[in-house]
Structures are given as C-alpha cells and as structure tokens.
Amino acid sequence: MEALMENLMGNVDWLEIGVASWDTLVMVGMSLLFSIIIGLPIGVLLFLFGKRQLLEQPVAYAVLSFVVNVLRSVPFIILLIVMIPFTVMLIGTSLGVAGAIPPLVAGGAPFFARLVETSLREVDRGIIEATQAMGANIRQIIFGALLPEALPGIIAGITVTAITLVSYAAMSGVIGGGGLGDLAIRFGYQRFQTDVMVITVALLVIFVQLLQMAGDRLVLYFSRK
C-alpha cells in the first residue's frame, strides 16, 4: 500500500499541501469578508437609487452601476495585474496571501453588490409600502424590512461569491498569490507533477462542495416562505 502511494504520489509534500490549503482558506475568507463589507452597502445603494425605488437617483445609479460594470467586465486575470501598483501602495507587497486579497476584493465586491441588488428587487413592493405606512424612515425600512426579507437571497449571493473567490484565489497563483493555485502552477504545471495537480484540484472541488452545501443549508434555514 505504502509503495503504491509512493509510486502514485511521489511528488506530494503533504505539509506543503496543508499550508497551501490554509492559505487558500485565509484568502477566500478575508476577501469574502471585505467583499461583503464593501459590496453590501453598494448593493443596497444600487437598489435604492434604481428606477421607481425609494431614493430614485438616475445619475448616482448610472455612476455606481458604471463602476461596478467596469470592475466586473475586466477579466480577473487582467484585474490581478492591473491592481499590482495599487496593492503595493495599500499593503506594501503584491505577493503572497496578503497581496492577493485586494484584487480578490476588487473582483468580489462588485459581483456581490449586483447579487444584493437583485435579491432586494425580489422583495415584495407591498412589504416596503406597508413598512412606509407604519411611519418607518429609510434606515428602518432597510434594516427592519428590506434586509431581513432579502436575507435568504443575500446568503445565496454570499455562497456564489465565495465560490467565485475560490476560483479567483487559485488564479492569483499566476502572479505569486500563494495557496493551492500557486502550488498547482509551480509544481503541477511548471514541473509537470501531475499528482500535485490532481490533489490540489480535488481539494478545490471539495472546498467548493462544502461551501455550496453550507450555503444551501443556511438559505433553507432562513427561508420562511
């Protein structure tokens, strides 16, 4: 058995795999956190500024929407490179786990913002009207009615964003980002170590599966419809 493992996975350094997995976890976790912190308010504003919504602002909507669209239309691999000077300015390096987080947030936050906007649009207008009729101000409408009603949709959005960030995080290996993607490129691709490639891909698949399952459970838990 051991001989078989040695033959099949001779190049696999399990310690390195463990460190890389942890790095991926940190990159995805941190960038998801910042994507939510930045994307959620942008999504709420996109919704409120939209046509026939509470704070209808055609100009503000157009500007915000344009910025979001620009960030979303740049392929992530290009965004990674374009962001390098900015990342260096922000945290001193564009390499490693820390260096990967700013471009990941730049890719994740606008993506999440759109998902938030969409799930807020799904909230029944009648509920907003009823809340207004109770004398709620705009802050109370957002936190008391809109966000709680849209919560299952927002959680589903977080899940989709997290999974997108897993694949973005793997891509960041190309510019020295660290994590499983970095491992796959340096060992699996550049040194033709197929076994490393297979392991990293398998781990990524498992990671995505776990995220999706956890997300689905949470959505179900918060759905009262």
Binding site: M134, G144, E149, L151, R224
Partner: protein, 335 residues
C-alpha cells in the same frame, strides 16, 4: 374627520400629466365606516393612498382633524402615519418575522414603547383577533383569513384613529370575507375608529359601511348613506355595482318584465316594515292581483331591507299605492 378639499392627483407619464383623480371634495366623519367602490383603475387605490400620503396629492388640501397633511414635513408625516393603520389585499406581512413580531413591528419602529409594553400589547391584540396560539408561527404557515387578521392586529398596534383597508377582503373566500368584515365592524364599534375601505364588491359595502362613494374614471360619481345609494342608485356605474352584487342578469330581468302584464312596481322595505305581512292586506283592500317578478330580503349593515318587483293587474292601483306608502314602503313605478 377627514376632509378632501379639491384634492387631485395626476401622474407624469412621458412628460404628460395623466389624471388619476379629478378635483374631489368630500368629508369622512370620525367614527364612520366609509366605503369607496369602483372598478379597477377608477382611482380608488390612489384616493386611499392620499390619506396617509403614500401617494402625494398634486393639488388641493387634505385636512385630517383640521391639520393639512399635504404640508407635513417628512418627520411630521412619519409621526402621523403611526396614527393611521393600513391593511392590504395581499396582507404584506414580513415573511421573515413571526406573527407576534409582525404585530410588534410598528411599535418597535415608533421607538416610544418599552419592551414589556410591546409584549403585553401584542398579547392583547393576538387575543382580540383570536390568534393567540399562532404567535410564534410564520405568515407562510397561516391561511389567508388568519394572515389578514394578523394584518389587522398589526394595523391596530399603535392605537390608530383611522384604519385604511385596501381591498382587504378581495383575496379571501366568501366565508373568510364574512369573518374579516365582522371583525372590522366590531373594531369600529369598540374602538370608535374611522374606517376607510376600498373595494370592488358592493356586497362588502352593504355589510359594513355607513356611507359610500362610487368612483368611475377618477371621479366620485355618487356618494351618500349606503341604504340610499344601494337601494336607489342613480348613476349607471352604481347601478352596475348593485346589480352585480345581487347577481341579477339585466337582460333576463328585462325579458321577465316584458312578459309580465299590468303595472310593474318596485317596492323597497326598510327596517321593521320588512317583516310585516303587508302584500296580502293591500291586495284585499284594493282588489289588486299581483305576482312577484323578483325579490330579495337582506341586511344593509344591521338594518333589514326587502326589495320586490311586482306586476299588478286589476283593482284600484291608487288605493294599493297609498296603502303601501302609508306602511313606510318606498314605491317606484317601473312601468
């Protein structure tokens, strides 16, 4: 008291102003149940939303207890809205909150009630709408009628003086409609609050309203006490509504009337005279023979009424008519 003074509303559509409500003046008295009936698109939805300014008026003044709400600042408006409850056709409950939390919601928004105050008020309201055992359920677990009762409890939470009902029974089956209407009538009596309700069913008006306004194409075309408007409709739209609610087929009725012999009278009884054995004695006195072409006995709110269409042959018609009028029966000569 709610006073509409030349109130109008129009929407801007592609640079043009489309009128939804032509200048309208009317008064809704404190403590009455006021119905607004009209087909969809008649402007009744707009009219009711002007009262709590969910839609701002584009002209005229709306005075509620002598205060012009069209001039309210947004802070004044929010305080004012707490005194105006509203219920909706599709209930508009928050699906993410339990029944108890839905009822507590307006009190929490108001920010002037303590937690124990909210808790005891919610319990009281749950008992009032007979939903105490459903306090911790979510709206999706309730039937339509139960949802509307939650809506009513929520609307009453901050002790409003006005309750607006936006097609509150239109999504409910007839039996549930009955029980919700009864609840509204009871609340009106117990709490003395003013109820303004809009509906497309004359039957709803007949059951609970004191006065009614009939709307057609953005105008109030007829207004008055329900018994008057319902029993003696003047405007064609009102007649349509009354016929609809009595499920009378107008063509069939015309056919019946054409086949009948002699004079045709429509008698309207109201109150006590509804139950008196009048026709027989009138027939004997005047020697008139009659046959009943159509008839109906029912209630307008709490008052019984009857309406009969008769054809009369032979005898002394004048004597018969005088005898009927003497017995407090309204007589209308159809032919």
């Amino acid at each position: 008291m709610i006073v509409f003074d030349q109130v109008q509303k129009s929407y801007q559509v592609g640079g043009r102003a489309i009128p939804a409500l032509h200048p309208t003046s009317m008064t809704i008295e404190t403590g009455e149940v006021f119905g607004i009936v009209g087909h969809s698109g008649a402007g009744k939805s707009t009219l009711i939303r002007l009262i709590n300014k969910l839609e701002p008026a584009t002209g005229g003044r709306i005075l509620i207890d002598d205060e012009d709400i069209t001039r309210y600042s947004s802070a004044d408006l929010r305080a004012f809205r707490r005194k105006v409850g509203m219920i909706f056709q599709h209930f508009n409950l928050l699906s993410s909150k339990t029944v108890a939390d839905n009822i507590a919601f307006p009190m929490k928004l108001a920010g002037i009630y303590s937690k124990p105050e909210i808790r005891s008020r919610v319990e009281e309201l749950l008992a009032r709408v007979s939903l105490s055992e459903h306090a911790n359920k979510y709206p999706s677990q309730l039937s339509g009628g139960q949802k509307q009762r939650v809506g009513i409890a929520r609307a009453l939470a901050c002790r409003p003086t006005i309750l607006l009902c936006d097609e509150a029974t239109s999504a409910l089956d007839p039996q549930t409609t009955q029980s919700v209407l009864k609840l509204l009538a009871d609340i009106n009596k117990e709490l003395g609050l003013t109820i303004v309700l809009i509906t497309h069913e004359m039957d709803v008006v007949r059951r609970v309203c004191d006065r009614v306004a009939v709307m057609d194409a953005g105008r109030v075309v007829e207004m008055g006490p329900v018994s008057k408007v319902f029993l003696h409709p003047q405007h064609p739209t009102t007649r349509d509504f009354v016929f609809e609610s009595e499920s009378v087929d107008r063509d069939e009725l015309q056919e019946d009337l054409q086949k009948a012999e002699g004079r045709i009278l429509r008698l309207t009884f109201k109150g006590e005279s509804t139950y008196k054995p009048l026709l027989g004695s009138v027939a004997r006195q005047s020697g008139v023979d009659f046959s009943i072409l159509s008839g109906r006995i029912d209630h307008i709110k709490d008052t019984p009424y009857g309406q009969l269409t008769l054809s009369l042959v032979g005898g002394d018609l004048d004597v018969a008519m005088r005898a009927l009028e003497a017995a407090d029966v309204h007589v209308e000569v159809v032919r």
